[in-house]
Symmetry: C2
Subunit: 169 residues, 2 copies
Amino acid sequence: MDDQAIPLDAETKAVEMPEDHREELRLWLRLLTCTTLIEGEVRGRLRERFDVTLPRFDLMAQLDKAPDGMTLSDLSKRMMVSNGNLTGLVDRLVASGHIVRTASPTDRRATVISLTESGRGEFCAMAAEHELWIADLFGGLTEKDRGDLMRLLGKTKLSARRAIQGEGQ
Amino acid sequence: MDDQAIPLDAETKAVEMPEDHREELRLWLRLLTCTTLIEGEVRGRLRERFDVTLPRFDLMAQLDKAPDGMTLSDLSKRMMVSNGNLTGLVDRLVASGHIVRTASPTDRRATVISLTESGRGEFCAMAAEHELWIADLFGGLTEKDRGDLMRLLGKTKLSARRAIQGEGQ
DNA sequence: AGAAATTATTTTAAGCTTAAAACAAATCTG
DNA sequence: CAGATTTGTTTTAAGCTTAAAATAATTTCT
């Protein structure tokens, strides 16, 4: 309980006793900015070029990776959105003929969602252009940059998951 | 129009003629996952701990950095959301007493928004905890990781801005 | 100064999103 | 096997978000 020296940082300014985390905050804000920027651009291009919304595109992208369809629960986990959200989104995509609901043969609670043939066709056309847009948006990064960023984001994902998972303990 | 050799990659598999950009796509999806994961957690904690929504918090965070207030246009640029979106958000924050609208002395079109005293007080309390949550979520990264990630995201931001800016040419 | 273009904000219509509650079917457990 | 819990989905209420059109004030350009 003796007097304690006020810690000084490299620039010899007194720092707050409970260490501040402005650096992490800036990192988070920058991450958010990147995502918002790219997402907004992709949203706009999807609308202008294909008259489709981003959520619709995202949903179809998940289904495209699952030839045998997926349940709503699986979809909601994959897309990281709430269950209730999907109900409406699926309704609209069924109405526009892009996807179909099928009763699950094994579980009478569940419905399996899958792309219709025309839905898959439309999605593939959009996905091909979408991939070019993304490549363009990330075009300022070198191959090494992209590898490094991929690795660091992987680490970030793990870090966040651990922090989220561990909170209930 | 002679026959053309199909290029082979390092693992000796045929690759698509128009080069594919799946790597950039994976990078984008991972970036999006990180943001969605962290954003969802922060949203939930703000609600549980302070009964406040993330957009409200974000708006107050911007105002906190502008002691003399900001116009709606400035706010919408900073927050990267549409103008129309802010109208409603501001209405609700005015109704709850967190912010006030003041007529701009120089421009009769504009309104200046600023935090009320109690709004600033409430925000500061939330911001202090929020900063700890963020530090916790990024806790799995070393100081070097954070520096590297910061730099790479800076480069990503520039890359995206350039791609967006340059599209109209 | 007056017309034209720009800027600041609001309104509108549609769709997205969430949390919480409700419901139904499947699984677990004593 | 019956009651309790979990799981899959929908509903509800509230708020968020966008794009596009409308309105109003300022600035620009003859």
